[in-house]
Symmetry: C2
Subunit: 316 residues, 2 copies
């Protein structure tokens, strides 16, 4: 089959990949559409060692598996877990100590014609959700994870830093809470996507220091963190919602004096993400920047890598 692999840091488009072996309890899924995420780009740069088929944002159709799943259009939770370790037993399966992660940790991913995932990871896609929209289930779930971790009150002032793919999804999720929301970004064109939904945006840091109860840092850059640190009030929270390329240096004493909370945030719940897509409560199609056939996956990756580019999709 065709697929885009990473091997020793080199991307290769191959057409001779074997079909995934599909062990007991797993289903074989024919990928119909996939999305490129910053994590894919960071893996190519070596942020984490990975060899295999890249990709974890996808929608597809089950070709082999339990009879009631075959022919079903599905999305899939990307963490394949053991069910036995302390994290699994304590209801933190996305932190399973023996997990594999689709296209990220020890498991071939979605940038190929077929993938395999445990049946329990698969969620049927309601008919009302198109292929494009369904491809956003995983990043939208990641955006929703912020609401799983922290109670955003209607009276809270929240700053989202970053107008990238994830930032614009998080902005829309934050807006659901009724909080006073500001999205800070660098690209008017991208900010306009959420501005069209009535969300306040800015290209400056012209807000008062300490004006926000919560800042969600979606840039993964030290500059974004510096802005977040300045923006939040004493006893406020900074949610760190991105892949950081390197170490971060911070003034720990100031963090203690101001009693700031930093909170890392990663994968989130798929079911409510599907529900939001079905109800069209989040606009994801405006985030699509380009689409490429799988045959042109390297060009798609190069496009996604360009500064300021939103979501690049792969068609199969």
């Amino acid at each position: 089959m065709k697929g885009l692999t990473l091997s020793d840091g080199q991307l290769r488009l191959r057409d001779d990949l074997p079909l995934p072996t599909c062990p007991s309890g797993e289903a074989l899924v024919r990928v119909e559409r996939a999305g490129i995420c910053k994590t894919d780009l960071e893996l190519v740069k070596g942020y984490y060692p990975f060899d295999g088929v890249l990709g974890h944002e996808f929608v597809g159709t089950v070709e082999e598996g339990p009879p009631d799943f075959v022919g079903q259009r599905v999305v899939g939770e990307i963490n394949a877990v053991c069910g036995r370790c302390s994290a699994c037993r304590q209801a933190r399966p996305t932190h399973c100590q023996d997990r594999t992660v689709l296209g990220i940790v020890n498991r071939d991913g979605a940038f190929a014609e077929y993938l395999s995932l445990p049946v329990e990871n698969l969620l049927p896609v309601p008919d009302a959700i198109g292929l494009d929209e369904a491809t956003f289930t995983e990043p939208l779930a990641a955006a929703l994870q912020v609401l799983e971790q922290i109670h955003i009150r209607p009276t809270d002032h929240v700053l989202v830093i970053g107008d990238g793919r994830l930032g614009l999804l998080i902005a829309q999720v934050m807006a659901m809470t009724g909080c006073a929301l500001l999205v800070q970004g660098r690209h008017q064109r991208k900010l306009d996507i959420v501005a069209a939904r009535g969300i306040a945006t800015t290209r400056d840091t012209d807000y008062d220091a300490g004006a926000f109860d919560v800042a969600v840092e979606c840039t993964g850059s030290p500059e974004g963190f510096t802005d977040a640190r300045r923006a939040v009030r004493a006893q406020g929270t900074i949610v760190m919602k991105s892949t950081y390329a390197g170490d971060l240096t911070l003034d720990a004493s100031a963090l203690v004096v101001d009693e700031i909370t930093l909170m890392g945030s990663r994968c989130g719940p798929f079911a409510p993400a599907l529900q939001l897509l079905e109800q069209q409560r989040v606009d994801v199609t405006s985030l699509i920047e380009a689409r490429y056939p799988i045959n042109e996956a390297p060009a798609a990756m190069a496009h996604a890598e360009r500064k300021g580019v939103l979501k690049v999709l792969l068609d199969f």
Copy 2:
């Protein structure tokens, strides 16, 4: 009056200090006992610019103020606040943007025969609490702040890192919750103080990585933070409860992947601290290492600075 001042980074024992001017709404307190804290030592090293009388842990007797306060033995909340800024109006007075802080920010402190504080900052000391014990009200309140910020469940596994003055108070406060508690330190003599109260202690890091739901870092050192990071599970919390001498460098991506929460923690509530002291639920007198008359305050500071030394008190 006599007092220990810091001026241009130099400690000076003086006997020619004027009595504090005691503006309307404040009371003049004759200091009877005071305690030396790591923050005092860090101020001398220049961690934060301060000129004036050092010291913020004290007990004393009101000599001038509202008639019902005069003659009363009191302790005092160290943050003197404006009552009008957004932090004050939002019930975060310890983060008042215009605050002065006794012996720390723009307000002469407790290492002198007299100090002045707003009347609203003063709490009467119950008769059952001795002078030594009352001197610990402020650091015990700081220890209790952890329980104000985070819900420690009886089923939680909690690691306290550091067997210093604050670490041993925090250990006793954590033990109140019924959690599974381990205190990690370097000095058997100090660990024995909490071991005598049935608290498990260790001088090693021989616990499993990820074995703890919560780690309270009380050393203010990068090594302590590294231990905390290794100790907490995914989605666990590290409470940062110390004055850090410099910047801290951390692996932000790992923090995101493991969804760790870092939480700075500073001043806490005085009333429950007094209650715990009155009920003798916390042993503070075992933490007293030495006492000096105010005349020998520089020697007391030098003693407190020595490695492994617990609480040094000043008598008046």
